[in-house]
Amino acid sequence: MTQTPLAEDQVSLEQLTSVIQSFGKERKNLIPILQMVQQELAYLPPEAIQMVAAHLEIAASEVYGVATFYNQFRFNPPGKHPVKVCLGTACHVKGGEIILENFARKLGIQDGDTTADREFSIDRVACVGCCALAPVALVGDTVHGHMAPSKVEGMILGFQIEKEKERREKGGDES
C-alpha cells in the first residue's frame, strides 16, 4: 500500500461536485445521483451523502434512509477484485453457501467486508441470472459458472500471483 486510499477518495469527491450539479434538484433524481456517485467512487462515503443532501435540499438522514433501503448501495469501499457470490435459488440448491464460506475463509473476512489491503471484498448477491451455470460467483465483472470449493483457492492465488508479478516488474524497472 503506497498510497492511502483516503487521499484518492478526496480527489474524486471534489470532481464529484460538478457531476452532482448537472442533475436537477427534483426528488426523482435522488436514486440516479446515488447510482452515479457509486459508479464514480465505488461506494457512498458520508461526505458524498452530505453533498447529495445539500444539492437536493433534503436532510442527509433522508438520503441515507433511501440509500440503505436498496441493496445496490454500499457504504464501505469495495476491494480491487470485488467477489460476489450468487445465492439465488439454483445456486443455493447447488451449494452456493459453501462457495461463499470458502471465499470468506480464504480471505479471512466476512461477506460485506473488504480485506485490509483493499484487494478483495466479498458480497452475497441475490441472483445474477445465470442460474443454469449454478453455482456462480462474480469476480469484478467476470462471471464464473459451475464454481466448486476447490476452485476458490486457485482463483485467489491467481490474483495474488499477478499482483506479485506486477510488483516485481515495477521493481525491475526501478533498479
Binding site: 440448491v93 447447488k94 475463509r105 441475490a126 442460474c131 443454469a132 451455470l133 464464473h144
Partner: protein, 643 residues
C-alpha cells in the same frame, strides 16, 4: 390517427423495411460462411467472448473469410456457448458448448475441409438429408416460441435486423386502428399479465385508457428480482425492440406519451443493449416526436432499479422511481388511477409487453388458440437446478409439469430421483412428484398451493432438503421485507429463526404447529404480495414434506443430507484405496489426514461438509459416505505427528 396521414406513415415505414431487407439480403446472400454466436449474459459467463476471439484468430490464421454475428440467447443455457454456422452447401448447424478449442477445430475441419464434425454438433436448424434436425428433439418440437421467437436469431444491437424479421410491423398496423380496437384485440387474445398475478392485460389497458388525467404514464416492470428467474433479462438482451414496440403500442392505445423502462441495475448488459436500442429507435423515427409522421409522440426513459425485491410490487416500484424507499402502499387507489406523480399509470411486465407485437401481428384468434381456456398463450420458464437441460423454455400454457421437466428438460442428472419442484420463486411453493401431472396455468397452480409467479422453476433431486429450501426462501424474504407491515417484518424473522433451529438440530416438539400458525398470521397481516406469499414455501413444504420436518425435529436427522449441521462425512476404510490421494487436494480446509495404513480419514472438527471429497473420490472406490445424524460417522483417530 388522422387517415390523411396513412400514406405518409406507410411510406416512412416502407423506407425502413427496404433498408432492413437490403441489409439482411446482403448478409444472407453473401457467399461467405456465417457464424452466429450467442452473446447474452449466460453465453458470456460460459466463455462466449473467448470463443468469439478464438473464431477470429482461427479465421485469420487459416485465412478463411466468414461473417461473424453476435446474437442473443436461444434459451439453451445448458449448451452455452451456442454457435450456429451456415456454411454454403450445408444446412445451418447448431454447435453446443463451443470452447475456444472447438472453435478452432470447426474453422479448420468444417469451414476449410468441409467436415461438419458430427460429434460436436447438436443438429441442423432446418430439414435436410445430411444432418438430423434439432426439430426432432423434444426440446425443440414441444416448445412453442411466441415471445422468444426472435431471441438468439437476431442481433439485438441492430434495429434493422429486428425490422427485417417483421419487427415494428405491429406499430404500423396499430396506426390504422383506433385505440379502442387495439385494446379489444388484446382483450380478445386473453393475454394475462405475465408478472405473476395474471390480471387480464386488455382490461388493465381499458382502465388506463378511461382513467382521467392530463398525462398518462406507461411503465415496463423489468425489476426481475425473483432468484432463479431470468427470462426478462434474456428478452431484454436478445430482442429489446420487441419490448419497446410493445410499450409503444400500449402507449398509443391508452393515450400515453411517456414511458419508463425499469430495469434492475444488476443487469448491466441488458441496460447497455437497451440504451443502444432506444437510440437506434429514435434515429429511425420509431420513438420520439411524431413517430413515422403519424403525429404520435412517445418517449421512453430508462430507470435503473437499485436492487430491492419488493420493488417488483407496482406501488413500491413507483415510490422508487419517485426517489423514495420502495415501500408498497394500500391499494386502492390503483396506480391506473393514481400512480407515478399522481398520474394514471399503467404497469406491465417485460414479458407482457413482449407478447403484444406478436398478438397484433398474427391476430388475437391465433394467440387465443394457444394454451388453455382460462390461460391463453405461452409461458416462459427458466428451468434450473438439478435438471439435465437447464435453460429457458417457452411452452404453451396447459402443458403438464412432467412433460416440461422430463421431456423438454431431460429429467434429473446423475441417476438421481426427482424430489420436488419449486415454482414461483419466494412466493411460490414446493410441489412433490404427485403433482407432476398438474397442467401449467394460472389457476391450476394456484389450486395446488404454488403460483406461476414470474416463471422461475427450480428442480430438486433427492439430495435436497426441503426444510433447508424453506429456510432459504424465508432468509430471502426476511431480508427483502421492506418493514412496513409488522407481521411481515417480525413474522418472517421468527419463521426464519424457527426454521434455522430446526435445520441445526435444535427443533422443538411444538415447532411445526408454531410454524403453521405464524405462517397464516403473516399471510393475513401483510399488505403487499411479498408478505402475503412469503410463507408459501413453508406452508407447501410442511403440507407435502411433513415427515422430513419431523425427522429433523424428533430424530435430529436430515434424511436428504442437505442440512450440514445434521450430517457428517466419513471415509469407509474398507473401500478406501491404500496410497490414493485423490481427496486430499480437494479439501479446502485440510481436514483429510493419512492413517497409519496409508488410507484416509476425515477430521470431523475441521470438516466444513462441503462434499468435495465425495466428488473427488474415484468412482471405483466411492469410499466417502455421508450420514445423518452426524454421530453415526465412525471415529478415525488422526495419527500423532511424530509416530
Amino acid at each position: 390517427m388522422n387517415p390523411d396521414l396513412y400514406d405518409e406513415v406507410r411510406q416512412a415505414f416502407t423506407t425502413l423495411t427496404e433498408e432492413a431487407k437490403n441489409r439482411r439480403n446482403a448478409f444472407r446472400e453473401s457467399p461467405l460462411p456465417k457464424i452466429r454466436i450467442g452473446m447474452a449474459t449466460c453465453g458470456i459467463a460460459s466463455g462466449a467472448l473467448e470463443t468469439k476471439k478464438a473464431f477470429e484468430d482461427a479465421l485469420a490464421e487459416y485465412q478463411v473469410k466468414a461473417l461473424l454475428k453476435c446474437v442473443g440467447c436461444m434459451g439453451h443455457c445448458y449448451a452455452e456457448p451456442v454457435v450456429v454456422i451456415e456454411n454454403p452447401g450445408f444446412p445451418p448447424i447448431l454447435y453446443y458448448k463451443v470452447t475456444p478449442g472447438k472453435a478452432r477445430m470447426i474453422v479448420k475441419s468444417f469451414l476449410l475441409d468441409g467436415d461438419p464434425l458430427f460429434e460436436h454438433l447438436l443438429g441442423a436448424m432446418e430439414e435436410n438429408d445430411l444432418i438430423p434436425p434439432v426439430a426432432d428433439f423434444p426440446r425443440f418440437s414441444r416448445e412453442k416460441k411466441v415471445v422468444t421467437e426472435k431471441c438468439g436469431l437476431i442481433d439485438p444491437e441492430d434495429i434493422y435486423d429486428y425490422i427485417a424479421s417483421g419487427g415494428y410491423a405491429g406499430l404500423l398496423k396499430a396506426f390504422h386502428l383506433r385505440p379502442q380496437e387495439i385494446i379489444q384485440e388484446v382483450e380478445d387474445s386473453g393475454l394475462r399479465g405475465r408478472g405473476g398475478a395474471g390480471f387480464p392485460t386488455g382490461r388493465k389497458w381499458g382502465l388506463a385508457q378511461s382513467a382521467k388525467g392530463d398525462e398518462k404514464i406507461v411503465i415496463c416492470n423489468g425489476d426481475e428480482g425473483d432468484p432463479g428467474a431470468y427470462m426478462d433479462r434474456t428478452i431484454l438482451e436478445s430482442s429489446p425492440h420487441q419490448v419497446l414496440e410493445g410499450m409503444a403500442l400500449c402507449a398509443y392505445a391508452v393515450g400515453a406519451k411517456r414511458a419508463i423502462l425499469y430495469v434492475r441495475a444488476e443487469y448491466p448488459l441488458a441496460i447497455r443493449i437497451l440504451s443502444k436500442a432506444l437510440e437506434q429507435a429514435k434515429e429511425c423515427g420509431l420513438l420520439g416526436k411524431n413517430i413515422l409522421g403519424s403525429g404520435f409522440d412517445f418517449e421512453i426513459n430508462l430507470f435503473q432499479g437499485s436492487g430491492a425485491f419488493v420493488c417488483g410490487e407496482e406501488t413500491a416500484l413507483i415510490a422508487s422511481i419517485e426517489g423514495f424507499r420502495g415501500m408498497p402502499r394500500v391499494r386502492p387507489p390503483y396506480p391506473v388511477h393514481d400512480g407515478l406523480w399522481s398520474m394514471p399509470t399503467l404497469i406491465n411486465n417485460v414479458k407482457t409487453f413482449a407478447s403484444i407485437p406478436p398478438i397484433l401481428d398474427h391476430g388475437s384468434a391465433w394467440y387465443k388458440a394457444i394454451g388453455t381456456e382460462g390461460s391463453s398463450g405461452t409461458a416462459i420458464f427458466s428451468v434450473v437446478g438439478d435438471v439435465v437441460h437447464a435453460g429457458l423454455v417457452e411452452v404453451p400454457l396447459g402443458m403438464d409439469l412432467k412433460t416440461l421437466i422430463f421431456d423438454i428438460c431431460g429429467g434429473i442428472p446423475n441417476k438421481k430421483h426427482f424430489k420436488a419442484l419449486q415454482i414461483g420463486g419466494p412466493s411460490g411453493g414446493c410441489l412433490p412428484s404427485d403433482f407432476l401431472d398438474t397442467p401449467i396455468d394460472f389457476d391450476s397452480l394456484k389450486g395446488v398451493g404454488a403460483m406461476m409467479g414470474s416463471g422461475g422453476m427450480v428442480v430438486m433431486d433427492d439430495e435436497t432438503c426441503m426444510v433447508d429450501v424453506a429456510r432459504y426462501f424465508l432468509d430471502f424474504t426476511q431480508k427483502e421485507s421492506c418493514g412496513k407491515c409488522t407481521f411481515c417484518r417480525i413474522g418472517t424473522f421468527h419463521l426464519l429463526r424457527i426454521l434455522d433451529r430446526i435445520t441445526k438440530g435444535g427443533g422443538r416438539e411444538d415447532d411445526l404447529e408454531l410454524l403453521e400458525a405464524l405462517a397464516q398470521d403473516v399471510q393475513k397481516g401483510s399488505l403487499c404480495g411479498l408478505g402475503k406469499t412469503a410463507p408459501n414455501p413453508v406452508i407447501t413444504s410442511l403440507r407435502y414434506f411433513r415427515e422430513e420436518y419431523e425427522a429433523h425435529v424428533k430424530e435430529k436427522r436430515c434424511p436428504s443430507g442437505g442440512c450440514r449441521t445434521l450430517t457428517a462425512f466419513y471415509i469407509d476404510l474398507q473401500k478406501c484405496a491404500r496410497g490414493c490421494d485423490a481427496c486430499v487436494g480437494s479439501c479446502p480446509v485440510e481436514a483429510i489426514f493419512t492413517t497409519r495404513d496409508r488410507k484416509k480419514g476425515i477430521d470431523q472438527a475441521l470438516c466444513v461438509k462441503c462434499g468435495e471429497c465425495m466428488v473427488a473420490c474415484p468412482k471405483e472406490y466411492s469410499a466417502v459416505k455421508r450420514v445423518s445424524p452426524p454421530h453415526l460417522a465412525p471415529v478415525v483417530e488422526r495419527p500423532k505427528e511424530n509416530s
